[in-house]
């Protein structure tokens, strides 16, 4: 922890000091680029909103990426600092150092990377190493990756290593291979065809030593495989992936031995002014980690893509859906249509209407016999009918968004959402009622001049459950491309507890120049959860001054 590996030093020294003539040549024509970000907050205790006293008063998360490229060679590292981690981030992040460093060489059809890398096989159902700064997620693999393209249209990939675990590494070793075949390149007679077909397959195996404390006959090597396809024909695209995982008893599934399965199918159509998407998925016992005892988001070997729209407006994002790896069946349909300019309905500038619907249910689970309860520790867990929906609704979201430029000066975005949210399952609040929420949003922009604009956001959330009704209001003045100033308030006027009918006000200002940005905000942050790609973290209530600085070069 907190120490710089020998390999990092070698990379840095090799990059800085010309050891030999060859090294001097090596440095000629090299380029360095990277980016930095600092997120810091000064905390004030606020009993009313339940913001705890922070002993340090001031907390900071920061990183800097430095990447050196020279022809076929790339090397880099990322310095990270969490002193101490911002509230809501995992406290196991505490510390500073270089958790990510790599060197990569690519020549012709061959590429090798040593050190840390991010990658994914297909849609990620059995392997995805990625980082998401806003969640504090980083499951990069520290090891070796090789990519080979022996023929045109054929790519093989092999990975081997251990995953990052905060400032340590996973106890399990992740091994995997992936093959991708673009048939139109492989078969000459298909080259000119309008129908394009790609197929692929991948295998992953995780090794973790035995754990006598669990008193189970554990599989030490847990393997998963997946097959996928993508067919496109003009404006139509159809893709899918099926994944299978053998017995993988772990903390998330309560140490059951059932196999895991995942299926993801997506069909889309797009042409100018119209986009249609339909996607379905089924996840059954697909938590896959490089530590069977880990019960947080850390050390995920795979990624289960969400089939729900990720909302950005604060009220719409109040009830975000978190993927349930133990089992879910979901569907998403979306139509985006632009009514053409100068038509009767489209007006002078056209009007875009986006309608989106998603629903996620539990999967069907039946007892394996009369005596063993479902999900019982150290058993097969349950049986499941593949095509049968479970009885429990986890999430439903119907939303419609209309975007219309009214005139040269006015632009309007109006949205309506109807959300059903199983707070018991998604946030783990046992016994709490299913949340039914209706949300209306108006977003109006007025341009004084081409550079100066004022944006008004008005949002209203109605629900009889959870914390009751909310109202949100924001006014943002922008002097493009450099300055913005905003005031915002979220008011929980419908909270059933009178003492909690509180205002969450924030004032913010920011300055951007080229690739440098600095932003300050002061105010209250309500307690909630934020999700990116179906992976969520809790955000505790806080009050104080937040500073964000980012820069890239």
């Amino acid at each position: 922890m907190k120490k710089i590996d020998l390999s990092v030093l070698l990379i840095v020294l090799f990059s800085v000091f010309p050891f030999s003539i060859k090294a001097q040549n090596f440095l000629d024509g090299g380029q360095v680029h990277g980016n930095f970000q600092i997120d810091a907050q000064y905390y004030e205790p606020d009993d009313k909103i339940g913001a705890d006293t922070i002993p340090e008063k001031f907390l900071m998360n920061a990183f800097g990426n430095i990447i050196y490229t020279n022809g076929d060679f790339t090397a880099g590292f990322r310095y990270e600092l969490y002193l101490n981690p911002l509230e809501g981030f995992d406290k196991r992040l505490e510390g500073n150092g270089i958790p990510y460093r790599f060197a990569s060489y690519k020549k012709d059809k061959f590429e090798i990377t040593v050190g840390n890398f991010y990658d994914q096989f297909g849609s990620g159902l059995i392997f995805r190493a990625y980082e998401e700064w806003n969640l504090g997620v980083d499951n990069s693999v520290d090891g070796i990756r090789v990519k080979i393209s022996p023929f045109k249209g054929v790519t093989f990939k092999g990975i081997y290593g251990k995953q990052r675990y905060f400032w340590d590494k996973s106890p399990g070793i992740v091994r995997g291979a992936d093959a991708d075949f673009f048939l139109n390149d492989i078969f000459k007679k298909w080259q000119e065809k309008k129908t394009k077909i790609t197929i692929g397959g991948s295998f992953v195996s995780v090794y973790q030593p035995d754990d006598p404390g669990l008193k189970l006959h554990l599989p030490l090597n847990v393997a998963a495989f997946a097959g996928r396809f993508n067919i496109s024909h003009g404006k139509v695209n159809f893709s899918g992936e099926y994944a299978y995982k053998i017995n993988d008893p772990d903390q998330i599934n309560n140490f059951i031995y059932k196999n895991g399965e995942a299926l993801l199918l997506t069909a889309s159509y797009s042409q100018k002014g119209l986009g249609v998407l339909l996607a379905v998925k089924r996840i059954d016992n697909m938590s896959y980690k490089s530590n069977r005892l880990e019960n947080s988001y850390a050390l995920d070997v795979n990624f289960l893509p969400p089939l729900t729209k990720q909302h950005t407006y604060s009220m719409a994002a109040m009830y975000p859906y978190a993927t349930q790896p133990n089992g879910e069946m979901g569907l998403q349909a979306q139509v985006v249509y632009t009514i053409p300019k100068k038509s009767k309905l489209g007006g002078k500038y056209g009007t875009t209407i986006a309608v989106n619907f998603s629903v996620v249910n539990s999967i069907n689970k039946q007892k394996i016999n009369d005596t063993i309860p479902i999900d019982e520790y150290g058993t097969l867990g349950y049986k499941s009918d593949f095509f049968k929906l479970g009885d429990t609704k986890y999430f439903e979201d119907f939303n419609i968004e209309i975007t219309k430029k009214i005139s040269k000066k006015w632009k309007l975005i109006a949205s309506y959402l109807n959300i059903i949210y199983n707070i018991d399952v998604v946030e783990g609040h046992p016994g709490e009622e299913m949340v039914h929420a209706n949300i209306g949003i108006l977003d109006l922009t007025y341009k004084f001049t081409p550079k100066k604009s004022l944006r008004l956001e008005y949002q209203q959330l109605f629900t009889k459950q959870d914390k009751g009704d909310w109202l949100a209001f924001m006014l943002e003045f922008t002097i493009a491309p450099k300055w913005f100033f905003s005031v915002m308030d979220q008011y929980n006027y419908g909270n059933p507890d009178n003492n909690k009918q509180l205002h969450y006000y924030t004032i913010s200002a920011g300055y951007t120049k080229k690739a440098n940005r600095i932003a300050l905000s002061y105010g209250r942050q309500r307690q909630g959860i934020i999700c990116v790609g179906g992976v969520c973290r809790e955000v505790p209530a806080s009050n104080g001054l937040t500073l964000t600085i980012s820069s890239s070069f």
Binding site: F156, G158, G176, A179, F203, K215, N247, N254, Y257, P430
Partner: protein, 291 residues
């Protein structure tokens, strides 16, 4: 060269496919007093048995009412003078650790989560008294009901007698647990034996809304007592006997266990209890310190 690369790749795939362990049932490693080589059975002294009752409290560090529940449990323990054994099970939403900050310590256990689910715990703090099913599908009760429930059973003659001898080696942290159960009546039911580890005086944060007891709303140096740490022989234990067992039969079960280095062995104790396999009701319980 191309074929060499492809062959190499296929070899990797082959190795990975081979790296796959399919486990056949039974999945649970059977325990049951077969660790006598590592842990020779000592001689149990003669003793006089009294009825002992187990109170299993469901709690959580984010549960503001729970310090009051613990206070009631401790007062009852004093009242019954050693005949009441306490265990605090951190489970459910109030026990969820926060990602960071004061409440990030994880008190939960696999066994605790299983009990929380199986006994359909609907509130915190609540407790089970000897796992008696007080009404159809309801085992847990509020603190006001604990005392009358205990009063109703604590005066009964013991049907089983239990003794625990622990032998702990500090250097290796090896713990030999010997549990003797004596049938004080003829029995004709299936009896299970469960062995849990608890720890006292874990100083950590606790939510609190009673300023008479300590700081509100956050009690930084709260002493968490009788905290369930692990189930030695799984949440549901082992079969002690099936069917008829004549009076005066004794069974000794021995377990080898390695104490987690994070736990303070001086504050750890073993709680053993026997229960009816059908009704899950506890027949007798016993407690003894690790050292």
């Amino acid at each position: 060269m191309k074929y060499l690369k492809i062959s190499l790749f296929l070899l990797i795939i082959g190795v990975i496919i081979y790296s796959c362990d399919k486990v056949d049932p039974p999945y649970i490693i059977e325990q049951g007093g077969d660790d006598t080589t590592a842990c020779p059975v000592p001689e149990f002294p003669d003793t006089f048995y009294v009825k002992k009752v187990l109170l299993e409290e469901f709690t959580g560090h984010k549960c503001p009412n729970c310090p009051e529940g613990s206070l009631v449990a401790n007062q009852l323990r004093e009242k019954y003078n050693g005949q009441l054994i306490l265990m605090s099970i951190h489970a459910g939403t109030f026990a969820d650790p926060s990602a960071s900050g004061p409440y990030s310590y994880d008190f939960r256990t696999i066994a605790g989560d299983i009990l929380n689910d199986e006994f359909q715990v609907w509130g915190y703090p609540t407790a089970m008294i000897n796992r008696i099913e007080i009404s159809q599908g309801n085992w847990v009760m509020l603190s006001t009901q604990w005392e009358p429930t205990i009063d109703g059973i604590i005066g009964d003659d013991p049907l089983l007698g239990m003794q625990i001898i622990n032998e702990f080696e500090l250097t290796t942290r090896k713990l030999c647990i010997h549990v003797k159960t004596k049938y004080l009546e003829d029995f004709n039911q299936d009896i299970m034996l469960s062995i849990y580890i608890i720890e006292d005086n874990i100083i950590n944060w606790q939510k609190n809304d009673n300023s008479d007891l300590g700081p509100v709303p956050d009690w930084e140096f709260y002493s968490h007592n009788h905290v369930l740490r692990d189930a030695v022989n799984t949440a549901w234990g082992d079969v002690l006997s099936n069917g008829f067992m004549p009076k005066d039969t004794s069974i000794i079960k021995t377990y080898e266990y390695y104490l987690n280095t994070e736990w303070n062995y001086e504050n750890c104790a073993i709680v053993a209890f026997t229960y009816n396999a059908d009704t899950k009701e506890i027949i007798q319980a016993e407690e003894n310190h690790v050292e």
